[in-house]
Amino acid sequence: MKYACLLGRTIREAFVKEYGTCSMSIYALLTQFGDRYLSALFTTYKLTAAAFALAVVIGVAVTVMRIAPVKPLRMAAEFYVQVFRNIPGAALLIFLVYALPYLDIVLSYYVCVLTAITLIPSAFCSEYLMAGMNTIDPGQIEAARSLGMTFAQLVRNVVLPQAVRSSVLQMTNLLVATMLTTALASQVPLNPTDLTGIVSYINTHAVGGVTAFLISAVLYCVTAVVIGQVGSLIDRKVRVLR
């Protein structure tokens, strides 16, 4: 922490020496780059929504595979989760951008980013759903079985609905985490850029400094707080009474 402060001060002093000021004011930034901030915010939201939706779909599918009565399916799904839960997002993005072309697979930057920020949350989504399943009394599974339900019917009627309901708060966190992971998009050229990328853009075209970051940070924070509130509301509504 001490060193971070020191570093911050050094950078600030360097800026002041070079330009006479450390950065533009918030007002100046907003008047000059307001539109760009808005479209960056929109890009971040778009990426977040697309990645989260895809992650949930994949997460549910992987989770069903992980409890399937077929061993190879279970093993494949387990492997998937282990890989994408444990790989750093930046590493995955680098792999998609630089390694795939060697296999003659060239994806657009947008698709690369979206893939990276979908695969990783999908593994976490599955982990949260598995945890949610552990809250289900095995007796309910037996009851469903004794009523003649097949595996698919059991999953659809009993297991998934309860797993989803009891993991709303984790899913809320996952949505926030997914949004923060979209910052990876700043590492590739995108137009319009995302909320982190906009800062690099501003700082290469003007002297936004830390203030440019601050605006992005506030936008991230406000969104996260809103997501968190909505998440708790939903959780209170759908939580399974026991």
Binding site: A143, A144, S146, L147
Partner: protein, 259 residues
């Protein structure tokens, strides 16, 4: 006329539930030892015995909630396979009521009763709901239909569980200690429903510790100990003059209260 009678007799000869030479181990523990049991249509069989005697395991084995190591389970003439669609189908023909109710916690009482008929038997929603309401009425919890299980008392939950079983029109219902998790004042309401069912000719296999109830409703009492069926008898004979020494010891250990 005579021929029809004969055919009816023949139909009666096929047991609803038949267990042949069932063996089961929990690790090295031999929990079911060459158990044979057949339950005729309309029969009420009560299984009693000390704890650890294998009676619950036997009950759960009938619809293969427990795996078995040897033997055959035959439901109304059809061999129950280890897994697959046929297993699910045969299970749907045998109802089960558990000690801990096992209602679906996230569904309303009404949905608890309709879900299996709708999804397994493909009964249309409206029809399933009407039938469910009739059944809930019959077990006396129709006024709770739109609550969730957590809002009901144990006795009410168990009556819902019975209605849920009945909604599948089962050929028989298994009861695995249905009153053991209930407060004493709620046992009666559940036993009343069961007595009524027995009176209507439902085929039932009941594991219970309620001896008075057993004496009243059983057509046949099965006494188990150490994983074997030691005695099969009429309730009158069993409770007044048990044949085996262990059954005598068991009944004596219950004391005067139960007898």
């Amino acid at each position: 006329m005579a021929q029809e009678q004969k055919r009816a007799d023949a139909a009666r000869q096929v047991p609803v539930i038949e267990l042949r030479h069932i063996d089961k181990y929990f690790g090295s523990l031999h929990v079911l030892k060459d158990v044979n049991l057949s339950v005729q249509r309309g029969e009420v069989v009560v299984i009693i015995g000390p704890s650890g005697s294998g009676k619950s395991t036997l009950c759960r084995t009938i619809n293969r909630l427990e795996t078995i190591d040897a033997g055959e389970i035959i439901i109304d003439g059809a061999v129950m396979p280890e897994e697959g669609k046929m297993l699910a189908k045969l299970r749907s023909e045998i109802g089960m009521v558990f000690q801990s109710f096992n209602l679906f916690e996230h569904k309303s009482i009404l949905d608890n009763v309709t879900i299996a008929p709708r999804d397994v038997l493909r009964v249309p929603r409206k029809e399933a709901q009407e039938e469910a309401m009739r059944l809930l009425e019959r077990v006396g919890v129709a006024d709770q239909a739109h609550k969730v299980p957590a809002q009901l008392s144990g006795g009410q939950k168990q009556r819902v569980a019975i209605a849920r079983s009945l909604a599948m029109h089962p050929k028989a219902i298994l009861f695995d200690e249905p009153t053991s998790a209930l407060d004493p004042e709620m046992i009666g309401e559940v036993l009343d429903v069961m007595t009524e069912l027995a009176g209507e000719g439902m085929t039932m296999v009941i594991v219970t510790h309620e001896m008075n109830f057993a004496r009243r409703v059983a057509d046949r009492v099965i006494f188990m100990d150490g994983g074997s069926i030691l005695e099969e008898n009429t309730p009158q004979e069993f409770f007044s003059a048990p044949r085996s020494q262990r059954a005598r010891d068991f009944l004596n250990s219950l004391g005067d209260r139960e007898r």
